[in-house]
Symmetry: C2
Subunit: 144 residues, 2 copies
């Protein structure tokens, strides 16, 4: 019903093509998205970008609702992907902190426009999602 009409952006600017290349990925966009795919990864990047080196526990408390298992897992993947650096201070009560690598920083930069887009259009997105949540729940009852 609600046709989201926006500021008369009549001539949509052209989008450059997504250059396909190396094995496994259809294009750069594909590669990027696989790297940040994970329920909490963007948030992790977000916090590290904002607050710099952060201890595990802090991160854990900052990102609410994440479980240890998944947080650790995603941190490990980010580390394996070279986006995050893990520093073990080898102290007696364990002390480890995580920070962004230069690669991680560059990715964070590339995320800026997405963040801005979301901020700008959050109202619309939010509304639509709320509606979807409604009929989604009624459409299917718990299996069995």
């Amino acid at each position: 019903m609600s046709e989201p009409t926006f500021p008369p952006t009549q001539t949509p600017p052209p989008v450059q093509s997504c250059t396909p290349t190396l094995p496994g990925f259809t294009c750069g966009l594909d590669a990027t998205l696989r790297v940040i795919a994970g329920k909490w990864k963007p948030l992790i990047l977000y916090f590290l970008a904002q607050d710099g080196p952060t201890r595990y526990g802090e991160l854990r408390r900052a990102i609410r609702d994440v479980s240890d298992k998944v947080l650790i897992q995603q941190l490990k993947e980010l580390e394996a992907d070279g986006l995050v650096k893990r520093t073990d201070h080898k102290e007696v009560p364990p002390r480890v902190d995580y920070s962004l690598t230069p690669l991680g920083h560059s990715l964070a930069q590339a995320l800026v426009p997405l963040c801005a887009w979301g901020t700008e259009h959050m109202a619309e997105v939010s509304r639509v999602f709320a509606e979807r949540a409604t009929w989604t729940r009624r459409g299917r009852q718990p299996t069995v």
Copy 2:
């Protein structure tokens, strides 16, 4: 710009928390990512951004390896989210095409840097992923 920037530009980490949010989202980035979450959505957006209005069948063939069920489903969600417009020409052999709304176009623009990042770093990403695929399938190594 009064807009909170996602990754702090560089030197200082003074950027405050995520933008105060509407129901459901922790920040703009979160909102954006939920909208493009779906195995083929980014590719759909990119394709439509480049080629303009496209018939269902064409899309289906362009995005290889996607199944009808999922493609339709993601198109419906994109449409519900106001990013894509579905046009049914009501012709006898069905003819429907999909195009980006202005909102969709703006999102596609925001994806450009991600695409660039991926293209630029595809070598690293690709290598790391290949390695992960190897030990992920077999048993896990003792903690190194």
